[in-house]
């Protein structure tokens, strides 16, 4: 029995030390790099820096977490609003928060919400009122333009006037949308809205082209029209940050046409016309190569891999029908 006492003592001592160490151990400090925003001012300052950014030509900035800076600013502002709801109830900061949120939302294409937020900022008679009302008006026009015509990515809405679904009507609606944006562009000269409007014009052109690409099999000249529409996008938006993407889309269509041609006219058959197939493959290859040689862009990798995939596909065509 006595022999066991020292063991028990040791055990108790060890336990006591363990408890002591556990109590003294510092809790794991969270990474200060990712701590929550210190103040609304922090969010506003970061957002303000990126308000004048040319997001038509350049990729939108990212914050320290790698998120789109407009999106992260909006999320932070909304979280602050929610977390400090009671303290902010008096509304003394409504103008700052609403105005900042609107600035972020208009860059995320939430024009209607941005206009509403601007109007809320304008409710307070302060230095931001005039700017807020002007911006609300522009956002209204942007929202109106965004509702016109065919846009496959637009959420479905219950409207009296459904979007057009026929070629000429699509073109007419697209022209109308562009005319509205063009008028707005003149009005917005000297402000960051120029870039937002240019993005919207690009979007209108892309939506129009997407319609013709999607419906190309429904008409005899559908393929030619789809190619022409995608070429129109690449020509009109050479300066855009999406210029490479537009080239890839055009190359993809040429590639699809080449594949469809092989399905329609098997290479070993009598109806296969090597020059036609060669033209399609050449066109796709040249476009992929043009993008694939641009250092420092993610599209470089994408275009190179797609070119490889296209050339791998052509291996299936007999060499006496296609010689790369």
């Amino acid at each position: 029995m006595n022999a066991h006492r020292p063991d028990a003592c040791r055990l108790l001592l060890a336990l006591a030390l363990g408890v002591l160490f556990a109590a003294c151990a510092k809790p794991v400090e969270p990474d200060p790099q990712h701590k929550p925003a210190a103040s609304v001012l922090e969010v506003v300052a970061v957002l303000r820096r990126h308000v004048p950014d040319d997001t038509y030509r350049f990729v939108p900035a990212r914050d320290f977490t790698g998120r789109n800076v407009y999106r992260s600013s909006l999320l932070r502002l909304e979280n602050i609003e929610k977390a400090h709801e009671e303290a902010l109830r008096a509304g003394q900061f409504d103008d700052v928060i609403a105005f900042s949120k609107a600035r972020a939302m208009e860059r995320l294409r939430a024009f209607e919400l941005a206009a509403t937020s601007y109007r809320r900022a304008a409710e307070r008679d302060g230095p931001l009122r005039e700017d807020a009302l002007r911006s609300a008006s522009i956002c209204d026009s942007l929202a109106e333009a965004a509702r016109i015509g065919f846009d496959p990515d637009r959420p479905e809405e219950d409207t009296d006037a459904p979007p057009p679904t026929e070629g000429e009507a699509i073109v007419a609606a697209s022209d109308q949308r562009l005319a509205l944006l063009q008028a707005l562009l003149a009005e917005a000269q000297g402000t960051h809205y120029v870039y937002v409007i240019e993005e919207e014009m690009e979007r209108a052109d892309v939506a129009r082209a997407q319609y013709f690409v999607a419906s190309r099999r429904l008409s005899p000249d559908g393929d030619v029209r789809a190619l022409a529409e995608l070429q129109r996008v690449t020509e009109r938006h050479k300066e855009s940050k999406n210029a490479n993407r537009h080239l890839i889309a055009l190359a993809d269509l040429y590639g699809d046409l080449a594949r469809e041609y092989v399905t329609k006219h098997p290479p070993e058959g009598l109806l296969f016309d090597p020059p036609t197939f060669q033209e399609l493959v050449d066109s796709a290859s040249r476009l992929y190569e043009a993008v694939g040689t641009q250092d420092g862009t993610p599209e470089k990798l994408e275009a190179s891999q797609r070119l490889e995939a296209l050339l791998a596909f052509t291996l299936e065509v007999d060499s006496d029908r296609f010689t790369p």
Partner: protein, 766 residues
């Protein structure tokens, strides 16, 4: 004296006669008459017994009647015997009839067996023999066996060469024998460690076995093969898993948890429940979750992020207001004394510093902006919330391309100096999928050579061609110029880019940049000349004539002040004048080497045009060109008589019947040559084949003018392709290598086992 006079008279008469003859001989150049002889008309021969027997063999083969085909073949054999007994040459049709009979056999195995028996005949046409050999070689089991043999040779050869080479070098430098041997063995061990469990050739064998089993499910070999396939397939699965696990580990050590997760998941798709893959995926998931949690926390509202005090509110208004005095307000805030105990005051000052940098940037004070941001970024994140935002801006190659440009240039310089000093170890030992210290240890024997190689590297340094050098810097430099064409560093960046583009021969880009930089006309002139020459070469290399023409016109218009620009204009005009829908060329040498094509059954070329005598008209070495439609272009040695001068060109339209004969004989000859002689390649050309097809069908009335329908295939003689003596690959499996090493000033001689060449489809297994 008399004799002498007589000799002089004779000589004078001879000279006069020679002069007369020379005067009367036709000058070189195109002959006055056409190049072609009238088309030969063959009398119609009534078919004989051999013809009927051959027809019967073909009919039986088409009907799938091997017995009937064999009977026809027997008739041909009998006819041949009769001919032989009467001293006539055999018909030569019997082997073909047997081949037709073989084709009617019901199974692939029977056909293969019969083909093998046929190759035993001594009277086989060489082309038929070559075709049968090709068919027999295309046997999945044979192919698999060949690939396995290659795999064994490669495995043995690698080991043998790794040991033989250092031993051979030690003859003149015994001191190096041991280190070289150790290096060789270590290299071998590393290679073994890094190599896949299943080699490429073994995977090719696996694919062939699968093909055999699919084609012959009931063959006696199939059950044993299935077991072998399962065994190899397991090895291939392990290989794929190992590759993905290596990638996952590498990604994890580089902080790329997303890539590691994907790689581990792919490994699990190949081998579900694999313990290593599960562990790696769990680790990647844990790190991803941590990163997500950190990102989510950064979006939360902190306890102090609530309502603003009045100064902060006013500052926020000034920031957001159109035309607000951001810089002035920020300065005023920073000028007020700081209250170290007031957290709000500290935050306000923190934000003011960031905003001051923003204001500086908007006012074009780029240097001040980045200086302010760099100072702010250096603050500890515990003390400054804005430090992380400043850091994100400073380190972003998108937002701060000038810094990225400088960093990339520094990295290039470091790499060059590193190579100069440390050679192949400049970036550390290569990745061997081993612990880093061990990788360094393995490289220890190489250090001596690296140290002694310094003088060699110093000599080579000026000509060092590093393809990576400058590319990243150029991308960032261009990005900077796109954002700030008139920025503080624009001139410096543009000037660097001009030099960079010039150094890699891209003069067109250099001209564009120099023009943006406002370079003087004198500076631009030589650069424009080089740019035009560069573009002209690109245009001439362009295969499609429509693209080539567009290119030439562009050069002629944009570089009209340069020599190459004028040349491009002339070329564009010449191309239009001499354009033809096709450019299929048959060289004079090819016509001489293959008389059947020039002969009366095909082209019907007058023989004197390829007899080597200039006086009676001679084709230029370029020969003739099928120029599209029924037009043939004859290229003659020019009147100057030199084959180096451009040819004199004459065109002649031929009848559809003659054109059909020409292309048929040409194609048959080329295909036969390719079968009989492995060096006589008949490369694939879809446009050529399409033209031939149309010519045979007599459909050349309306030439296809599309650029993509044009073929520029050239039928060239073996001598034109390979010269007088063709190199032959040694039949020995071993090369004897005599090797000198400049760095170690050593000389060595050793045997090296020649590694098997990869098959043309090897890229499908990589």
């Amino acid at each position: 004296m008399t004799a002498s006079r007589r000799e002089r008279v004779i000589a004078a008469v001879a000279c006069a006669a020679a002069a007369l003859l020379a005067g009367c001989a036709s000058p070189p150049g195109a002959p006055a008459v056409g190049a072609l002889e009238p088309m030969a008309r063959r009398p119609v021969f009534p078919p004989d017994d051999a013809d009927y027997a051959a027809r019967d063999a073909a009919v039986a083969s088409l009907l799938g009647d091997p017995a009937g085909a064999s009977a026809a073949r027997a008739r041909l054999d009998a006819l041949d015997q009769t001919r032989e007994s009467s001293g006539e040459a055999p018909t030569g049709l019997a082997p073909f009839a047997q081949d037709a009979a073989n084709a009617a056999l019901p199974t692939a195995r029977e056909r293969r067996k019969a083909a093998r028996a046929l190759t035993k005949r001594s009277d086989l046409d060489p082309a038929l023999r070559a075709r049968l050999d090709e068919e027999l070689a295309d046997d999945p089991l044979e192919l698999a066996s060949d690939r396995l043999e290659e795999a064994h040779i490669a495995a043995f050869g690698t080991t043998f060469n790794a040991i033989a080479e250092p031993l051979g070098r030690s003859v003149t430098n015994p001191m190096r024998a041991l280190p070289d041997l150790v290096t060789g063995i270590l290299g071998l061990a590393v290679k073994e460690h890094l190599s896949d469990e299943l080699s490429l050739q073994e995977r090719q064998a696996l694919a062939q076995w699968k093909r055999f089993v699919a084609m012959n499910p009931d063959a006696p070999e199939t059950p044993a093969l299935r077991e072998r396939i399962a065994d190899y397939q397991s090895g291939w699965n392990r290989t794929q898993r190992d590759r993905q696990l290596r990638l996952a580990r590498h990604a994890l050590s580089n902080g790329q948890a997303g890539t590691a997760y994907l790689a581990a998941t792919r490994a699990l798709q190949v081998m579900p429940e694999d313990a290593d893959a599960l562990e790696l995926r769990a680790e990647a998931e844990r790190r991803l979750a941590e990163a997500r949690a950190a990102r989510a926390r950064s979006l939360e509202a902190g306890p102090s992020s609530g309502p603003l005090d009045a100064p902060s509110h006013d500052f926020a208004i000034e920031m957001l207001r159109h035309g607000g005095d951001l810089g002035g307000t920020a300065r005023r805030i920073l000028q007020t004394p700081a209250d170290a105990r007031d957290a709000r005051s500290a935050t306000l000052r923190d934000v003011a510093r960031y905003s001051l940098a923003t204001a500086d940037g908007e006012a074009g004070r780029e240097v001040e902006m980045w200086q302010e941001l760099q100072e702010l970024a250096a603050e500890p994140p515990e003390r400054s919330s804005m430090a992380r935002h400043a850091q994100a801006l400073v380190s972003s190659p998108e937002e701060n391309p000038e810094r990225a440009f400088e960093l990339a240039r520094s990295a290039d310089t470091r790499r060059s100096i590193g190579w100069l000093l440390f050679g192949s170890l400049a970036e550390g030992p290569p990745d061997m999928d081993l612990p880093r210290p061990l990788e360094w240890l393995i490289e220890v024997p190489n250090t001596l050579e690296i140290a002694t190689g310094l003088p060699n590297r110093l000599i080579r340094y000026p000509w060092l061609d590093d393809p990576r050098k400058g590319r990243a810097a150029a991308a960032f430099g261009r990005r900077y110029l796109a954002r700030r064409p008139d920025g503080v560093h624009a001139e410096e960046v543009r000037s660097w880019l001009v030099d960079f583009e010039r150094s890699r021969g891209n003069y067109a880009a250099a001209v564009e940049l120099a023009q943006q930089d406002g370079a003087s006309a004198e500076t631009l002139a030589p650069l424009r000349e080089q740019a035009a020459a560069q573009l002209l070469k690109t245009a001439q290399d362009e295969k499609r004539r429509d693209a080539r023409q567009a290119f030439l016109r562009h050069i002629a218009a944009d570089y009209s002040d340069t020599e190459s620009g004028r040349k491009a204009g002339n070329l564009a005009r010449t191309q239009v004048l001499e354009a033809s829908p096709q450019r299929i060329r048959i060289s004079r040498g090819y016509l001489q080497e293959n008389p059947a094509i020039a002969g009366e059954d095909a082209l019907g070329l007058r023989p004197e045009l390829i007899d080597g005598k200039l006086g009676n008209g001679e084709l230029h070495p370029d020969g003739v060109v099928l120029a599209g439609g029924s037009v043939i272009e004859f290229r003659y040695v020019a009147p100057g008589g030199s084959e180096d001068d451009p040819p004199e060109v004459k065109r002649q339209r031929v009848s559809p019947e003659r054109m059909a004969r020409i292309v048929s004989v040409l194609e048959e000859t080329a295909e036969r040559n390719a079968l009989v002689d492995p060096d006589a390649t008949f490369a694939a050309d879809a446009e050529r084949d399409r033209f031939f097809e149309q010519a045979r069908l007599g459909l050349l009335d309306e030439p296809d003018l599309r650029a993509t329908a044009e073929s520029s295939y050239a039928f060239r003689s073996m001598r034109e392709q390979y010269g007088l003596v063709r190199t032959r690959e040694s039949i020995l499996p071993v090369d004897l290598v005599l090797q000198g090493s400049f760095p170690s000033l050593g000389l060595g001689a050793f045997p090296r086992i020649r590694m098997p060449k990869q098959t043309p489809d090897a890229f499908l297994y990589k």
